[in-house]
Amino acid sequence: MALTQKQTRWLLLTPAGLWYAALLLLPLAVVLIFSFGERNAVGGYAPGFTFEQYANLPARFAAFRNTMTLAPLGTLAALLIAYPLAYFLAVKVSSRWKTTLLVLVIVPFWTSILIRSYAWIFLLGGRGIPALFDWVGIEGVRLINTPFAVLIGIVYGYLPLMVFPIYVALEKLDKQLLEAAADLGTPPWRSFLQITLPLSMPGVLTGTMLVFILLMGEFLIPAILGGGKVFFVGNALVDLFLQSRNWAFGSAVAVALVVIMLIVVTLYGRLARRFSVGRDDVGLM
């Protein structure tokens, strides 16, 4: 029996379609429905239609505030550290070493973020960097369980994800542009600001967007390095679903998180497009 092309296509797509329907669309719909429901007396969910859960969101204000300050800050810090490295790899390193050095940046990203965050407990804990400060005479420095520790964890965890897209953008840059600028007597810092930086913007935008999205849902880094003092929305969600079992309110928090994420990403995308359109004249060279 020969199948028509259409039949084959349906046959091939059905398992994936069912998987998405049962484990993506259904669960997301359930979260949305639960967010309008009520908390059951014994925990879990009781049916209902109320906006109470959303009205109650300010109760988790601190978690949203921490996420919305440390996620952008972490993204910015990662960008500032990643850019020079990406530039170095794309422009300065000889092609013989390029791939190896790039792989060395990316490799940590594919190993357990749990264990990589855990590693910082040593460095930031009493016997790590604070002990060094002690030794040079600055006493009483506490790093672990502070926002700074979480920030370091974030930069450490997501740096590879930032370096890669910027590297790709810089690698594509036509070096003749820079040579031409130099021949015309443009100082290097000016050609960097007017040529290199604008042309690498797509990479910068991709990198910051990726890192920011992942940070919005972060749980592990604040849990391990924030010690319950610096908590994100992700930590509030774990508490609401696994400890206090308040599913209705937890669902409202999850919906709010996704909505905020979508708004930020959309606005950022729009801003980015305007920015790159404004620079199109450079791209046409």
Binding site: L26, P84, Y118, G125, Y156, G217
Partner: protein
């Protein structure tokens, strides 16, 4: 510039190196090196809780990666060159699955499955005496959802870069579509599928946050490590961490080699 790069590489590898170093400590302290020994590796490998968690993680990672590779490749084959609403719908789902934070996927899967089980279980129990609960199945299903999307993206990318002329030539020479698939298309995309499989395995093996919600009574290795860290750091955790990182690295290198070989074959 070179100095700066060196500093960043130090920043990237120093913490990992310290874990590996302290895992060799002969003493009890996790934060001080007291002589060199590999006894903590032995301790970890003889700890039944560690071994059980490891075995659960390997099983979940393997089964979910196999399912994700097969189902994802099937979808990628159908989606290549496809247009229209169905394609747009699938693209949307792939992107949503990749974009939505893992924590939200974990929560959503937990409350949806628990609710469905609550409805289904009384009937099922009356009919067969069997109950559905969170555990191995929900771990595989939730990990597979994400990794299947990765496989779709990787394999479709390779399919779209394929030389269509090869497939058309095979069809023109009278090979049936199944024969063309087995003898032409599959060998060409095999490296991409294998790379997708290895990335899926690594993701599932390393994932903490989704598993934390959907694992039910099961304990995966990351869940075990996380709850141990909460109780305090020990050289044993350092040893486990070092082994996990070495294992992930090995898989990653194999995945890279596969993708590289695929590139070479295409040219």
């Amino acid at each position: 510039m070179r100095l700066y790069a060196t500093a960043v590489y130090l920043f990237l590898y120093l913490p990992i190196g310290i874990i590996a170093l302290f895992s060799l400590s002969a003493g009890r302290s996790a934060t001080q090196l007291q002589g060199i020994s590999i006894k903590w590796y032995g301790r970890a490998l003889n700890n039944p809780f560690v071994m059980e968690a490891l075995w659960t993680s390997v099983k979940v990672a393997f089964v979910s990666a196999v399912l994700a590779s097969v189902v994802g490749t099937m979808a990628a084959l159908a989606l290549t060159g496809m247009k229209g609403r169905l394609r747009a719908g699938f693209d949307l789902m792939v992107h949503v699955a990749v974009m939505i934070p893992g924590i939200v996927i974990g929560i959503a899967t937990l409350i949806a499955l628990v609710s469905v089980f609550d409805i289904v279980n009384p009937w099922l129990e009356a009919a067969s005496g069997y109950r559905l609960s969170m555990g191995f199945g929900s771990l595989v299903a939730a990990h597979g959802l994400f990794t299947m999307s990765l496989v779709v993206l990787i394999v479709r990318g390779r399919m779209e870069a394929l030389d269509r002329a090869l497939i058309e030539a095979s069809n023109d020479l009278g090979a049936g579509s199944l024969a063309t698939f087995r003898q032409v298309t599959l060998p060409l995309i095999a490296p991409a599928i294998l790379a997708g499989f290895l990335l899926s395995f690594t993701f599932s093996f390393d994932d903490f946050i989704i598993a934390f919600f959907v694992a039910g009574s099961e304990t995966t290795l990351p869940i075990y490590v996380f709850s141990s860290i909460r109780r305090g750091v020990t050289p044993e955790i350092n040893a486990i961490g070092t082994m996990v990182m070495v294992a992930s690295l090995g898989l990653l290198i194999v995945a890279q080699l596969m993708l590289r070989r695929g590139d070479a074959r295409r040219q």
